[in-house]
Amino acid sequence: MIRLTGIERVFRVGDEEVHALRGVSLDIAQGEYLSIMGPSGSGKSTLLNILGLLDRPNAGRYELNGHDVTGLADDELARVRREAIGFVFQFFHLVPRLTAGQNIELPMVLAGIDPAERRRRLDKLLADYGLVPRAGHRPDQLSGGQCQRVAIARAMSMGPTLILADEPTGNLDRHTGQEVMAVLERVHHEGGTVAVVTHDPEIGKRAHRRIRLVDGEIASDERSGDD
């Protein structure tokens, strides 16, 4: 489903060039559950941003569902993100003035889906993620775990093929973190492709495929047999 070939990403910091990714090649199949780990500055977030089409590689080729998306214009990338990719962030990034329900609806609003259909999908998402009693609350009235569930529901609202999570448990206590991972894993069990960036080995170990980045290169790529 995803094929990265020779991805390079170079940042310029002052006079220095920092190679965040050096020739990363990676295939991800439909329905995989993988974790991306590595020390700080190893390029794991950069890799996730490139996978999520938020960032562009300086060199290399990115195929998503058989299409080369490397050369797409910004607005086309936005459309692909909207239709095919769901993001979950460490700091949730919910819009503070909107209710949980409105936050979940946001991608569907941007996509121009009519209100009746939105309502139908929203009700299902609220029920699926146990948020029905919280639908009318604003983010500051929700716990961290609830916020992250809202964010996951938002990521799922357009039925994406790929869910990208950047340190989804980084801002949560251990117990809530486990809960959130369980929700993400349910997405995986339902057939979704899930990629999680984390520096927590315990979270990383849960994935069926574990990629370790060191200095912008893939140092190891392990799979466990239980999937």
Partner: protein, 402 residues
């Protein structure tokens, strides 16, 4: 993104930052209200002047003795001559012009008016029967001066309401006698209340026949001749005729001045219109200031809402959608401000109207149209830069943890 959703989104933003929204609405509102209120004062002044001239009579031409030059001073004096007087015969000669409908010669003086033991000094006007129609005045009681040869007169007079009230109190004035100087006049009419008209209060005058005034003030010379043209289009012909007839009568000398009310009125009209436009324009500067405020606030909003904009882009908002959201917000603010401003301007206009009931304050249509339009255009223009900046925001940077 559907349009109602765009509106709802902008509405939520406005509701989410209330004090900010209120401040912009206030700034926009003040700008629009200032334009409306100030231009309605200007328009009121214009209409007031136009009405004042209108109350002098329509299609009016005023003939006065002496030639007024822009050079200043009295030209007659400079060349060692006094200007020739206007006489009754001069006035009667004007009958020859086909463009002139009617005319009224005028002599003005001050006289001590006595009834029994009460005395009052009032302006005394000597004129003919036509005067009331030329000046478009109405009678409250009785009749105006009788028609007839202006060179002969009957001892009758017409008085203003204030004069009637002061000399007779509650008693009826009609048919009574009054004394001006050493002459007696019978009161045959009382003028209807008209009030001030270009600095001349017709409620406080006594009108006598022309010949009586000549005798009273011991003069042959006319103060003015009021001429009414047959129609608006005939004013120019009437003016030319007056000049020609009097030039011939005065041995070829142009020693009179002819003022057409039209020309004076048009000049005033132009001046006041320009003035209204100018003060409206000055008030519109406050709208531009409000526009800059909008830009400032929007630029702050881009910084403040960096993460939100980054998120919107991450979940699939295009640059165009981000821009549309900002512009919708700006237009909603401008519309709200304009509505507030129009309402406040209208209230202000009513308030000034209460304070000065004589002046017809009305906001000119162009101000009512231009003020909100300017508000919208300036706020949209000043949103271009912030919206562009927001749309160009790099989502990775915007969402970065640092």
């Amino acid at each position: 993104m559907r349009f109602p959703d765009l509106l709802a989104f902008a509405w939520q933003v406005l509701g989410g930052y209330r004090s900010r929204t209120a401040l912009i609405l206030l700034a926009m509102g003040i700008g629009v209200a200032a334009v409306v209120a100030v231009s309605s004062i200007g328009e009121g002044a214009r209409l007031y002047v136009v009405n004042q001239f209108g109350s002098l009579g329509t299609n009016l031409i005023i003939v006065l003795p002496g030639r007024s030059e822009t050079a200043g001073g009295m030209p007659g004096v400079l060349v060692g001559k006094t200007p020739r007087d206007l006489t009754i015969d001069d006035a009667l000669a004007l009958k020859r012009s086909p463009a002139i409908l009617r005319f009224a010669p005028l002599i003005v003086g001050a006289g001590d008016v006595r009834v029994g033991s009460r005395t009052r000094e009032t302006p005394v006007l000597g004129t003919t029967a036509e005067f009331i129609r030329v000046r478009q005045m109405d009678m409250a009681q009785g009749l105006f001066l009788p028609a007839g040869d202006p060179r002969h007169s009957q001892p009758v007079c017409v008085i203003g309401t204030t004069v009637a009230a002061e000399l007779f109190g509650a008693r009826p004035a009609l048919g009574e006698w009054l004394r001006i100087g050493d002459r007696r006049f019978r009161i045959i009419g009382v003028l209807a209340k008209q009030g001030q008209s270009l600095g001349f209060n017709t409620d406080e005058i006594v009108i006598v026949p022309l010949a009586s005034a000549q005798a009273l003030f011991n003069t042959e010379a006319l103060f003015r001749v009021l001429v009414e043209a047959k129609s608006r289009e005939q004013i120019a012909y009437a003016k030319a005729d007056v000049e020609e007839i009097l030039r011939l009568r005065h041995e070829g000398e142009r020693d009179i001045t002819v003022i057409t009310q039209d020309a004076v009125l048009a000049t005033f009209d132009r001046i006041l219109r320009a003035l209204t436009l100018a003060v409206g324009g000055i008030a519109a500067i406050s709208l531009a200031v409000a526009g800059i405020l909008v830009m400032n606030v929007m630029l702050i909003a881009v910084t403040q809402r960096r993460k939100e904009i980054g998120l919107l882009k991450a979940i699939g908002a295009t640059g165009q959608q981000i821009r549309a959201a900002f512009f919708t917000e700006a237009v909603m603010l401008a519309l709200g401000g304009a509505a507030l401003g129009l309402a406040a301007g209208k209230l202000g206009q009513i308030a000034i109207g209460q304070a000065f009931p004589d002046i017809p304050f009305t906001a000119p249509w162009w101000a009512v149209l231009a003020a909100p339009l300017t508000a919208i255009v300036t706020s949209v223009l000043f949103t271009v830069l912030p919206a562009k900046r927001a749309a160009a925001l790099d989502p990775v940077m915007a969402l970065s943890k640092r």
